[in-house]
Each structure stands twice: as C-alpha cells, then as structure tokens.
C-alpha cells in the first residue's frame, strides 16, 4: 500500500514523508545546534591543543611543531608555578567560603519571617548582576585611599589611619580580597541550590526521624545533607569550573598583582596569549585547566548516572 502511494505522489510530498519519520526529523532538528557547537567549540579546542605544541605567535604565525617544549618552558617558570598554586588557593578558598555562607544562608531563608521575599531578592543580587560590574564596585570599596571598609575600621577604632590595610596592594590581602569577592559572587547560587535540595526532602522522612528522637543537628547532617548531596554536587561543579577558569575578577581587581600574587591560570593565559601575542605558550598555560575540568566533569557524569539507576 505504502509503496504504491509513494510512487504516485510528487517529490514535495516525498520530502514531507521523510520529515514525518521521527528519527529523520529528530536528526534534522538537532543538527544545527550540534554543528554550531562542533565548529565553534570542538574545532577551536583542537586548535588550542595544536597551538600548545607549536611555535605559533602573532608575529610568526607558522605552525611548526615543537613537541612539549612549550610545556617544559612554562613548568620551568617560577611565575607559572606560582600561578598554578594561586589558582588552587583561589578556587578552593572561594568555594569553601561560598558553600559555608550558602548553607547557613539557606537555613536562614528556610524559615518564614516578615519581608523574606525582599531579603531573598536582595541576596540573589551578587549572583545575578554581571560579575565585571560587581567587581568594579568591590574595587572601589577596596580603594587604597577612599575605602569604605577602612573608613569603618578606623571609625570603630580597630586600626589607625596610618596603618590602614592596603587591600589590593599587599600580596596576602589581595588574594584574600579576590577570594572574598568570588565567594560573595557564588554564595547566592549555593543558597539557591541548597534551598532547592532541602525543599525536595520529603517532610514525612523528617517527621519520622523526629519521632525517632533525631534532633536538629542529627536531622541536618544524617538525613538532609546526604539526601541533597547530588544536587549540591552539581552546584559545586559549576562553582569549581567557573572559578578555576575565571579571568574577570582578577583582571579587574588586581591585574594579577601585586607581583603575581593573585595571578591565576585564566589571567596568565590571557596576558601571555593575547596581550603579549605568544599564542603557543598562552595555549599551553590554558590547557593546564583541562585535567581539573576532566575530573570535575567525570564526577558530574557519575552523579547523573547514579541518579538514573
């Protein structure tokens, strides 16, 4: 029946017939998105891989192969080793601080109180507002002369004007500052993730635990935390990936300074590859992010798979 009908109808209808097959139309639908991503993420990624083993600079755009020379160069460079170390400190410092703030913030927002909607709306802001703009506001708050933080410390008599901290000029304080700003930017996201997880815990489970004699902390750490772990893990993956590869906060607040104390991988890749035009070394620096990204992504995939079983 079908073959007879098919031979009679015109080509236009034949196209319609093909498009009515679920798998064919499905492939048509998904193809543009996949092509776009392959061309502008997949291909550039391979290019980055090749840059890192070539002698490519913007002044000498040859593609000559130099093997692992670039990697040897940057590993020998103490500035790079410092950068790698900084990146880990920056990432884990701000994630831990962000998670702690997020967990307690979620506990606070869980309770009903007058004005909760407004408080929640304001608490979301650090995560919503473009990070570059918020960072500039923090830079102004950390200003060496007109810092509002220092003004408050002086007014409260905690420090004297003569030895007020120079937040972005001292290596340790500068690292602390960029960590605080990044944690500040992520804690609303952590709150939202924790809230989504906690409200998904069935109330009868909690009631049963209460009847069995579990107190606040016990309910918290033996029931709620294990149950929300998968969703928190996904939030943490986002946090780690975006912090480990960050450029904006460091670029705008400290320019990696003072003397490289806050330089992170993204920043150094930018400085070397774009500003100095040494593309091959810049690519090699950026590629040091890949192992961490892989670990994080594999962890995430395992979590998703575990949910499915």
């Amino acid at each position: 029946m079908v073959t007879i009908g098919e031979s009679v109808i015109r080509p236009a209808s034949r196209l319609r017939f093909i498009l009515d097959r679920r798998d064919v139309l499905g492939s048509f639908f998904v193809a543009p998105a996949i092509l776009y991503v392959l061309l502008l993420v997949g291909v550039p990624f391979l290019m980055a891989l090749y840059y890192s083993v070539s002698a490519y600079t913007i002044y000498d755009p040859s593609w000559s192969f130099v093997g692992l020379e670039n990697f040897e160069d940057i590993i020998d460079d103490p500035v790079f080793r410092q950068t790698l170390y900084n990146t880990f400190i920056f990432t884990f410092g701000s994630q831990i601080l962000g998670l702690i703030l997020g967990k307690f913030g979620a506990l606070v927002l869980l309770r009903r109180f007058p004005g909760r909607g407004f408080v929640r709306a304001m608490i979301i802001l650090p995560w919503a507002v473009p990070i570059a703009l918020a960072t500039v506001a923090w830079q102004w708050m950390f200003d060496s002369l007109y810092s509002v933080i220092n003004w408050t410390l002086i007014a409260l008599g905690i420090v004297a004007r003569s030895d007020a901290p120079n937040w972005l000029g001292d290596p340790t304080l500068a690292m602390l500052s960029v960590i605080v700003v990044n944690a500040w930017r992520f804690f609303p996201f952590a709150i939202v993730i924790f809230l989504a997880g906690i409200t998904a815990v069935p109330q009868d489970v909690l009631d049963a635990a209460t009847v069995d004699g579990a107190g606040f902390w016990r309910r918290n750490y033996q029931i709620i935390v294990p149950m929300i772990l998968p969703i928190v893990a996904i939030g943490l993956v986002f946090g780690i990936v975006f912090t480990f590869t960050d450029l904006s906060v460091v670029f705008l607040m400290t320019m990696g300074g003072p003397v490289g104390a806050t330089s992170v991988l993204g920043f150094q890749g930018f400085q070397t590859g774009i500003v100095s035009g040494d593309v091959s070394h810049g690519a090699a620096i950026s590629l040091f992010m890949v192992p961490v990204l892989l670990v994080v992504v594999i962890a995430m995939l395992r979590f998703i798979r575990r949910r499915e079983i």
Binding site: G26, A33, V241, L247, V296
Partner: protein, 282 residues
C-alpha cells in the same frame, strides 16, 4: 517559664542577626554603587566625611556626564543588539534540538543532551586564543558582531538543556493527539509543542539575554575599540583615563546595567532552577 522566654528572645535575636548579616553582605556593594553614583565629587573624595550618606546634596552630574560625554548610550545599544541577535540564533537552534533530544532520539538523545550540556562547561579562557583567530578569519576582529557569532557557543548548550527539561515535563499525549488528527510531526512541534512551552521559551529568552550581558572574557579579548564595546566591558574598562578612575560615572553605569538583570533573575529564578535540576534529576 521565664527562662524559656529568655531563650526564645535570644534565639530570635540571633536569627534576625543572621538575616541582617546576609542582607548587608549581599546588598551593601549595590548600595555603595547607588550612593556613589549620586554623590558630588567633593563629597566622594574626602576621607573626613561619613561615607554612608550624603554630606552634600545628591547630584545627577555623573549620569549627565555618562550620557553626554561618554559612549554609554552606544554601549547600551550594542548590548541590546548583541542580546537580540544571540537570542534569535539560540532560539532557532536550541528549541528544535531540545525537542528532538527530549522526544525523538530516545536513549541516544539522553547521552547527546548531556554531551551538549558539557560543552557549556568548556571555559572561555580555554577557547579565546583559537577563537580570536577564527574571528580574525571571519573579518570580525574588533567588532561587536564577533560576539554575536561566539556567544551562542554557550547560550545554545545552556538553553538546549533548559528546554529539554521543559519539553520532558510536557505530556506527549497532546502532540500524539494532534498527529492522530492529521498533523505532521513538524506541525505538531510548531503548532502544539511551541505554544505550550511558551513559559519555558520566555525563560530561555530572558536568560540568553542576561548571559550575554554578564559575559566579559570574550568581549575583553575580541573588542578593543570603544564604540564597539558592549555595556559591561565599556563600563568596566573605558571610564578610566590613565590612572584616574571616574568612580561616580563607573558606579552610575554599573547601576543602570545591573538593574534589568537583577529584576529578570528575581522574576525567573524558580523556573531557572526547575530547568537546571529538571534536566539533571527526574
């Protein structure tokens, strides 16, 4: 009896103390933006004045300067055009892809969906070197159109994932009924699935727009001439002359650019979370 009420008062006080702490922590930098942008310079650059309030009458001087003497209006327009174009590209590619992955491709679709989402995690700082070459090859260096080409690399994966969650949550019987009634598969998508997922599409539009506003790294890498900058880049890097920061103008610009994003996020937050977790957790 009396002891219990003391404990209660203590609990309440510490609770509201915690609320205040989080509120101030989150909101103070924005309050600081607000008050800085309305202060006179003489009031701003003085260490003896109390900085938390106006010591001289508020002024619109910084806003006037921003619109009359800088390219602020151009940056606003650039960001708007970029947002509009990227949203269009994203909708055209991500909607069918999400529908296909949710409904048409079965088990492979699931894996493909996760694969697309993972590309969202590939960071700009890994790709900006090769992409700046791609942008140069396309003849778009130093032009805002380079951002229109590049931004969909993260909005498409993100929105495909978000829409997959929305399509999965929709009962398939509705489209099946349309097909039984003589609608083609494509027709069922256009006439049933899309209208029914309008709330999801609206979420995608809002978030694509805000993602383009929030982006900084690609803009910094590809665009260096002032007239082509999007607003975030312009405000953060273009209001500095030598070593002098125009703090009043910078904060005024940051404030104007932040407000729409802040409102959009608050209105769509619940849908956004449902989309993210709905794709990951069933």
């Amino acid at each position: 009896m009396k002891r219990i009420s003391t404990v209660k008062i203590l609990q309440e006080t510490s609770f509201y103390g915690a609320v205040t702490f989080f509120f101030v922590l989150a909101a103070f930098p924005f309050y600081w933006m607000l008050i800085t942008s309305f202060k006179e310079n003489a009031d701003l650059y003085s260490v003896s004045n109390i900085p938390f309030w106006f010591n001289a009458p508020p002024t619109l001087e910084h806003f006037r300067y921003l619109f009359e003497k800088t390219l602020f209006a151009t940056w606003l327009l650039n960001s708007f055009i970029i947002g509009l174009c990227v949203t269009a590209i994203t909708l055209v590619t991500a909607l069918p892809a999400a529908y296909s992955l949710a409904r048409m491709t079965g088990r492979n679709g699931e894996a493909l969906g996760i694969g697309i989402f993972l590309t969202y995690l590939v960071p700009p700082t890994l790709l900006f070197l090769p992409l700046s070459r791609v942008v140069a090859e396309l003849g778009l260096q130093n032009s805002m159109w380079s951002l229109v080409v590049v931004y969909p690399t993260f909005t498409i994966p993100f929105c495909t994932w978000l829409m997959m969650g929305f399509f999965k949550a929709m009962p398939p019987e509705i489209e099946e009924a349309a097909i039984v009634d003589g609608c083609s598969l494509f027709g069922a998508f256009v006439k049933m699935a899309i209208p029914l997922s309008l709330p999801g599409i609206l979420t995608v539009v809002i978030f694509t727009f805000t993602l383009t506003l929030q982006e900084f790294v690609y803009a910094l890498t590809f665009v260096s001439s002032s007239a082509e900058k999007p607003i975030t880049l312009g405000v953060a890097t273009d209001l500095i002359r030598g070593d002098i920061f125009f703090w009043g103008e910078i904060m005024a610009g940051a404030l104007i650019a932040s407000i729409p994003v802040a409102i959009a996020y608050n209105l769509f937050l619940d849908r956004f979370i449902a989309g993210i977790t709905g794709g990951a957790i069933k």
